[in-house]
Symmetry: C2
Subunit: 195 residues, 2 copies
């Protein structure tokens, strides 16, 4: 639809390719909007120009909402993370707001990708850090437990030795003896139950 028919193949002339891109892009977005309104359907349209910029249209709900149907409750799932976690949804919101910001409208895809990368890295680090912290805590407590167990045994042996002395010295041997089991056993039972 123009002065002459055009073949559908890559336009080699850089200039007219850019012009055509600009015109047809707005046309496509217009038609997408019309379809979504006329037929009450959800449409997500994302266009990455080869040299940097991102254009999008989303009908009905926001692009984020529509794309969320792909993730299900991805963002819900990350709510229980200890530290604030940037979900994909939030990332999209950030990207979107940046794109819609008139003053940064010229923000290149490269910039957006850099931003993305940073956010993803931050997220990965946060999660890794959380895991590491929990592991460290567990390992530390394991070590501490080992140490205290050894200490306990030592103390108990000491007591046993003293009791031996006691017995030896007292003719009757008044009963201090069996008490070591009394606190060891509950401990063992507790361990067994909880482990």
């Amino acid at each position: 639809m123009g002065r002459r028919k055009v073949e559908i193949k890559r336009i080699e002339d850089k200039n007219s390719r850019q012009v055509t891109f600009s015109k047809r892009r707005s046309g496509l977005i217009k038609k997408a909007r019309e379809l979504s309104v006329l037929c009450d359907v959800e449409i997500a349209l994302v266009i990455f120009s080869c040299r940097g910029r991102l254009y999008e249209f989303s009908g009905g709900k926001s692009l984020v909402k529509i794309l969320e149907r792909y993730h299900g409750q991805e963002s819900e799932a990350s709510k229980d993370d200890t530290e604030a976690v940037l979900s994909l949804t939030e990332l999209l919101h950030m990207v979107q707001s940046r794109v819609e910001e008139p003053t940064i409208e010229q923000l290149s895809l490269m910039d957006l990708e850099k931003l993305e990368m940073q956010l993803a890295t931050a997220l990965r680090r946060t999660r890794a850090r959380k895991t590491q912290l929990m592991l460290e805590t567990i390992l530390f407590r394991q070590e501490k437990e080992k140490f205290m167990t050894a200490e306990n045994e030592l103390l108990e042996r000491e007591i046993a030795a003293m009791e031996k002395n006691e017995e030896y010295r007292s003719e009757m041997g008044i009963g201090l003896m069996s008490n070591t089991e009394n606190h060891r056993l509950p401990q063992m039972q507790t361990l067994t139950l909880l482990t």
Copy 2:
């Protein structure tokens, strides 16, 4: 562009809305394809019909590839999860293969969403379970530590008492007397119950 001009607002007649949807949808997809070819750009177009089906077009790379630009290394980041985690990318692959499967081409959006929900739920459960396990381990070790600290103190007191006795008896040359078990044992039981 038809026999008469149409207002861009929701078509109330269900039948003609469906007809219009069918016609304009193919038109929109055609135009998206043309734009992507003519101008050598990547385009992702996703259409959710309100009653069930999903249509899509993606120019250049696959829809998955294009949408991946939104996630960056999201799937990379989840690799360190304990159990196998279905990334959005994998989910998209699944959805796409289902959609492209000729025999299941009639798979409804409801079915796809059910599938999604299941995957997301599984993922959420896996993560929650992992967190819970780690927390439980930490709490258990905290309690155990408290218990052992108390026990150590008691044993130390016992030793101190016995040493006192020792001294006393050494001086006076008299046999042993008090035992501290009477205090110690109830205390131990309480601790055991609390642990």
